[in-house]
């Protein structure tokens, strides 16, 4: 590769995603712009134009067509990457299901942004959480470094199990935050991520058919196969993390326990809130309060067993949701209640709608929420936090 990157670069979350995609050597990049994701595809187009990335950049007329092109290219055996946000992801919705059903291991970066109406550009994870049943692996990233590491890992995991993967990053707090990022060399990534070579592909020389009309039993079996592939993600992700850690010294577990030793209260969160929560945990620990953080990096498949093991024996759980499912509440709160159902000595689970629509959540506010939760009863419904 020309212009080998210096090890530590100042990159935004968006540009860390673009660097990760470049290092993964995708063959096809169907792209459509949308704030706050556009810098990802701008940087990838720039890499391609300078001859630093050998890929076909396609510019279809909508995100729906981007996903259609992605599926076709993936089924032809090409490694495919694209990026979107908010309304763009919602417009892809129909074909997200198609991609997972067709077992096309596309990797999509989604910048989490409020969904309309009303119009906004703020960090909010409702866009991707609304796709949780679409059969995609879903990761949520905390920092630009996390984005880079996760995009590269996502290709390896998705291609191992033939399930597409979505890598999510919060608008502005991650997508536009410029910060130091360690960028691995091309040789390291090549060793970690061999070229994509699926067992079946669309090939005019060896015709196979795809997406046929099937019987009820065949359809049902197909769904079960998809579920079995999802279940293999945990093991593949663990092996992938071990290898990445060996090569780079950085470890990104599917769920991360931060200062959870002997914790009476554990904050559970995803995405950019985890960074702020780390500062809250440190401040509370300094005051001798036994508080930790559990970062949920992999949301689909939901690591139920790992969550139950990590939260066993904890007295209080404070779930922070930067999303809102009208009529039920915070998605992570409600999923966690389900995941922990029937656990021995069940913890009290306090759900807080914190930062919905991009409302600011400071470390001091999180520390207050921990104290308020410990002093009160846990309610079944998620509780709104005032900004």
């Amino acid at each position: 590769m020309r212009n080998a990157p210096p090890d530590r670069m100042l990159l935004t979350g968006n540009h860390a995603v673009a660097w990760a995609a470049r290092l993964a050597r995708p063959k096809v990049l169907p792209v459509y712009p949308i704030t706050p994701q556009t810098p990802i595809l701008e940087k990838l187009s720039e890499f391609e134009a300078k001859g630093e990335l050998d890929a076909e950049v396609i510019t279809p007329e909508s995100e729906h067509s981007v996903m259609a092109a992605s599926i076709a290219a993936s089924l032809a055996g090409a490694r495919v990457f694209t990026a979107t946000a908010s309304q763009g992801l919602l417009l892809m919705h129909e074909l997200l299901h198609y991609a997972s059903g067709a077992r096309a291991p596309i990797v999509v970066a989604n910048v989490n942004r409020t969904v309309a109406s009303p119009w906004g550009f703020w960090p909010d994870e409702t866009d991707s959480l609304a796709q949780r049943d679409a059969g995609w692996i879903q990761f949520y990233c905390e920092s630009a470094q996390d984005c880079l590491d996760t995009v590269i890992a996502a290709f390896r995991i998705a291609e191992s199990v033939l399930v597409p993967a979505m890598v999510n990053l919060d608008a502005f707090y991650v997508s536009h935050a410029l910060e130091p990022v360690s960028v691995p060399g091309q040789e390291l990534v090549d060793a970690f991520l061999p070229p994509y070579s699926p067992p079946h592909r669309i090939d005019p020389q060896n015709p196979e058919s795809w997406g046929n009309v099937v019987s009820q039993e065949m359809y049902c079996r197909h769904r079960r196969d998809l579920g079995e592939a999802m279940a293999r993600v945990f093991e593949v992700a663990l092996e992938t993390e071990r290898e990445w850690s060996r090569l780079t010294g950085r470890s990104s577990p599917i769920i991360e326990r931060y200062r959870c030793e002997g914790a009476r209260t554990v904050i559970v969160a995803m995405g950019s809130l985890c960074g702020t929560a780390r500062d809250a945990v440190d401040a509370l620990r300094e005051g001798a309060e036994a508080v930790g953080l559990l970062k949920v990096r992999l949301f689909r498949p939901l690591p139920v067993e790992a969550l139950r093991a990590a939260l066993a024996g904890v007295a209080e759980i404070l779930v922070l949701d930067r999303n809102y499912s009208p009529g039920y509440g915070g998605v992570l709160h409600q999923e966690l209640r389900g995941a922990l159902y029937g656990i021995a000595d069940p913890p009290k689970i306090h759900g807080r709608l914190a930062g919905v629509g991009g409302v600011n959540v400071s470390a001091e506010r999180i520390a207050e929420l921990v104290r308020e939760a410990a002093a009160g009863e846990a309610r079944r419904e998620s509780v709104w936090v005032e900004g």
Partner: protein, 185 residues
């Protein structure tokens, strides 16, 4: 941790200025975080750039509720909304033709350093593009980053008129240096 807000209007370069400032501190070996939030990516609407600088990795991802220093690109934005993010000891550098005495009367209890960004930018053929001048002025008032490091960051990143931008940065720096020395005399 040093927490800085750069407040401007869409199109003025507040976001670019935040990234340049972060680059200069990064070049000094410090950990940095810089991001901007904007209300619709429209020209003229307020844009807030958030910059954090520390000697250890920065993890928090929230807005700055109380800034150590503020750089205000447009004096019409130096109002109650912006001052909510200031403490009495917060350094405020503002793009304005007015004298320091005006702000001492108008905003008692705040430390405001005005600099005529547009006048100085025009002198360097930069029209209304004030970010290089203002960054130089800000670096002098803040006493960091060093002028040479900031000038290098500006020349590396400026898409055109690299020398004019570096010179404008230096003049902003010198102007505030003279103003502060006058104030002490």
């Amino acid at each position: 941790m040093l927490q800085i807000i750069i407040e401007g209007r869409g199109g003025q370069g507040a976001q670019t200025a935040g990234n340049l400032l972060a680059s200069a501190f990064f070049a000094e070996g410090l950990e940095v975080q810089s991001f901007a939030t904007y209300g619709g990516a429209r020209r003229g609407t307020p844009v807030r750039s958030i910059i954090r600088i520390d000697d250890r990795p920065i993890r928090t991802r929230s807005d700055i509720e109380r800034a150590d220093a503020i750089l205000c690109f447009d004096s019409s934005l130096l109002d109650a909304r912006l001052l909510r993010a200031a403490r009495p000891d917060t350094l405020i550098v503002v793009n304005s033709v007015r004298e320091p005495g005006h702000f001492a009367n108008a905003l008692p209890g705040y430390r405001v350093v005005p600099v005529d960004g547009i006048g100085l930018a025009r002198r360097h053929g930069l029209g209304r593009i004030v970010n290089s001048v203002l960054l130089g002025a800000f670096a002098r008032a803040l006493e960091a980053p060093p002028l040479a490091v900031l000038e290098r960051a500006i020349s590396d990143e400026a898409p055109a008129l690299k020398e004019a931008n570096a010179a404008a940065c230096e003049e902003g720096y010198r102007t505030v240096d003279a103003q502060l020395k006058r104030g002490m005399a």
